[in-house]
Each structure stands twice: as structure tokens, then as C-alpha cells.
Amino acid sequence: MIRAVERRLRVFAFGGLLSYRALFGWVNPYVFIGVMVIPDLTQIVFFAYLGRATGIGDDTFFLVGNALVAAAIPGLFGMADTISDERRTHTLSLLVVSPASRLSLFLGRALPIALNGVAVSVIAFAGGSLILGVKIPLTAIPALVVVIAVTAFACTGLGLVNASIGLRQRESATISNLIFYFLLLAAGVNVPLALLPDWLATIAQGLPVTHGAEAARELVAGARLADVAGLLGAELLIGAAYALVGLAAIRAFELQARRGASLELA
């Protein structure tokens, strides 16, 4: 039992180390700022001005939504990216043939990227508020970090679903982008839920980020962590539900891929 746990942890840690290396093999401080921070800041600015142009004119709304998405992307895409990379280098079948726990295998790859995403998100929050002149209460910052982490977790759950699709389908980048766009559109990131058609607003309740973004906005408006506990709980629950679905799907698709010989659809 303990050995099994240890083995899982080792797979988890080693995979993490690998993706950490892959991530930071080429990242230096300049690249970090250039490639990770600036795109998020430009995204925040773009949507804030789109908000002004459309007469919604609430910079805080767009700052919070887009800064949070910065934390969400890595967990969402990381694992699917790993799978398609492995497919490209023809190592995917080697991974699948190994007896390692799938959860440790994929989650280990995702973790360093997700943590990095949290850091990027915090910087995006700070930078975006400076550029747009949005005041964030200093006391809200620790609670915001918690919200960011919870949102990143929820997105990692959805990321597992995405990864399972990646096992089955070779155009996983397309699916990843579809999910990303859908979140931008429907998860209360850039369009207030009140402006969405009812059916879309209903779907939004089941998406990651929706509740996290709402919690973050309340925090910026002066609420305390305890006030948004319900929203955070919902975000956590949604993330866990997706994670379960994702793991089950990975198992099922793996079996199917072995039957249908679609693993090496390079």
C-alpha cells in the first residue's frame, strides 16, 4: 500500500520535474515576462477597452476575468499538450504501455505549469490594475491568491477531460482552443452573465472559472474570504467533478485506443 503510494508519488514528481525542465529549459526572466506576462496584460487591456467601447465600461470586471484566465490556461492545456507532444515524439505508446498510475502521470506533468500559471496570474492582476488604474485592496490579496489557486484547480479538472480527448484525437490543440474560447465567452470572463442568453448563462454555472471570477470580483469589491466561501466551494466541486469524468474517460479511451490502434496517429 505504502509502496504503491510511493510509486505514484515518484511518477508524479518525476513527470513534474520533466515538464518543469521542458518549461524552464528555455525560460529566463526576460522570456518569462515577454512570453507569459505581457500577453496576459495585453489581453486584459484589449478587453477593458472593448468594454469601454461597448459602453459597459467596468475595467475591474475585465481585469479580474482575464487575469484569472491566465491562471486557468496552464491546467487546462498542459496535459493535452503533453500528450500531443508525446505523440509527436512517438513516446505516447511507451507511456501508455507503462504500468504507472494515469493520475500521477498526467497530473505530475500539469502541476508545475499550473503553479507557474498562478504566479503569472498574480503578476497579471498587479500589472493590469496598474495600467488600468483599478484599485485592489491590499487586504484582499491573500484571499485572491486562494481564489486563483482554486480556479486553477478547477481548470486542471477540466484539463483532464481535455487530456482524455487528446488521447483519442490528434487535433487536441483545436479542442483546447475551443474550450478556451468558450470560457472567454461564457464563463463570465468577458461577458457579464446577465448579458448572456438564458441557456448560455445556465451552462456557465457548470463551467470552471465562472464562480471563481465572481468570488474574485467580490473580493476586489471589499468582501472577505469567508463571504465567498460558497462560491469557492462550488468552484472546487465543479473541478472535482470534471477531474473524475476526465480520469474515467482517460481509462475508457485508452482501452479504445488500444482496440482501434489510434494511439500513434502522429
Partner: protein, 258 residues
């Protein structure tokens, strides 16, 4: 001269064929306009008039084109290298820039899918049949618009060729160009000091030409002229950068490696 033209037209056509069979690229040019037009539709719900909607549909179409250009054109050399073709292209006796320009142009030309999707989708979604005030000028404007996108992509491709993850560096400019060129956000909303910067972004003029041709408020021909002039400048700058890069790559032996 005739040879150069042939190289651009034929090379462009073949690369158009190759790239339009890439599902991911097609997806970008088709999906981006859908997403942003939808977003604009929801956000504009307050006071929408036909002109705003037409602009939004054109703007989101151009966003799709630019999106593909940043992700794909800026990393053209990297992609050719990955499939082992870069060396063959360099080893051919055609000047290198003449080999690369058709590739970035072909990618920008995939944007016609964006344009078609954007216009059709907006008609269906908004229920507003998009009327083009000056169809001839509109059709003519499409060409310099594509040219400007392709040449900006070429400039990026040449400028960022030394970055190992040039596609990521390309992504850096996705939102800034969207913001600067008045595709979805009127330039008037931006801070005053931003406007002069947008004058140097060729797609700004391309967007403006298409908008004027569609709405019929002003003549698009000045915009078209600016668009072409800036594209030529981009092409010259890109060509010069590429030359420098190529020499250093042959010297350093980095052509085949990353």
C-alpha cells in the same frame, strides 16, 4: 521579375493548398471571427446599429486573419525546419525571401475563409443582411488587406527567427495588433498617444479601407494606398533581416538545429 512573380503566385498557391489542409489553421480562421463576433454582439446589446454590427463582423474576421498570421506566419521558418524542408529551401537557387514571402502570404490569404465566415455568421446571428455600399472597392480592398497581414507576418518571421519559440513571440502581438488596428475597438476609444502608433500598423489601413468600402461613408482609396506602402516597407525590412539571419545561420550551423 517574371520569375519572381511566378515564384510568388505558384509558391503561394501551393502553400495555400498545404496550409488550408491543416485543420488547426482552418479552425483558427473560421472560429476566431465566430467567437469575437458573438462576444461583440452580447457586449453591444445596449445600443446596436447596423454600422456597428458590420464593423464588428469585419473586425472579427480580420482578427481571425491576424490570429493565424501571428501563430503561423511568425513561426514559418520553425515549421519548415521541423518538417525538414528549411534546408532544402535554402539550398535552392531562388532568393530566400522570395521563397518565404509566398508562405506568409498564403497564410494571410487563408483569411478569406475568415471574411466569408464573419460576414455570413453576422448575417445569420444578428439577422442583419450585411450590405456592401461599394462592392468593387470592397473586393479591391481585400487584396491590400491580405498583403498587409502577410507582410507583417513576414516581418515578424524574419525578426523573431532567432527565438527558439518564435510562435510564442508571435503570440505576443496578437492582442496589441487587435487593439491598435481598430478591428473591434474604435481607435477613438484608445488613449490619444496610441493613435500615431496605429498609423504604422498596416492592418489598421486595411481595416479602415474595408470598413469605408462597406459603409460607404468615405473613400477607401487613401487607406488602400497607405496599406500597400506600409506593406512594401515591411517587406523590405523583413527581407533585410532575413538576409542577416541566413548568413549568421550558415556561419553558426544553426539551420538544421533549433
Amino acid at each position: 521579375m517574371r520569375r519572381a512573380l511566378r515564384a510568388v503566385v505558384l509558391g503561394g498557391a501551393l502553400h495555400f493548398k498545404q496550409e488550408s489542409r491543416n485543420p488547426f489553421f482552418l479552425w483558427i480562421v473560421i472560429c476566431t471571427p465566430l467567437v469575437y463576433a458573438t462576444m461583440a454582439y452580447f457586449l453591444f446589446r445596449g445600443g446596436q446599429d447596423d454600422a456597428t454590427l458590420v464593423t464588428a463582423s469585419l473586425g472579427s474576421a480580420l482578427m481571425g486573419i491576424w490570429s493565424l498570421t501571428t501563430t503561423a506566419a511568425a513561426s514559418t521558418l520553425g515549421r519548415q525546419r521541423r518538417v525538414g524542408i528549411l534546408e532544402l529551401l535554402v539550398a535552392a537557387p531562388t532568393p530566400f525571401w522570395l521563397t518565404i514571402v509566398p508562405i506568409t502570404l498564403a497564410l494571410a490569404a487563408l483569411g478569406v475563409y475568415s471574411l466569408a465566415t464573419g460576414l455570413i455568421y453576422v448575417t445569420v446571428l444578428f439577422g442583419v443582411p450585411v450590405t456592401i455600399a461599394n462592392p468593387f472597392a470592397f473586393c479591391v480592398s481585400v487584396l491590400p488587406m491580405i498583403l498587409s497581414m502577410g507582410m507583417l507576418g513576414f516581418l515578424f518571421c524574419a525578426a523573431f527567427v532567432r527565438f527558439r519559440s518564435s510562435w510564442m513571440v508571435g503570440n505576443l502581438f496578437e492582442f496589441p495588433v487587435w487593439t491598435l488596428s481598430g478591428m473591434l475597438i474604435p481607435i477613438a476609444v484608445l488613449p490619444v498617444w496610441v493613435e500615431p502608433i496605429s498609423w504604422f500598423v498596416a492592418p489598421t489601413w486595411g481595416m479602415s479601407a474595408l470598413r469605408e468600402a462597406a459603409l460607404g461613408n468615405a473613400s477607401p482609396w487613401d487607406d488602400i494606398g497607405m496599406c500597400i506602402a506600409l506593406s512594401v516597407v515591411y517587406a523590405a525590412a523583413g527581407g533585410a533581416l532575413l538576409r542577416v539571419f541566413l548568413r549568421s545561420a550558415l556561419r553558426r550551423g544553426t539551420l538544421a538545429l533549433s
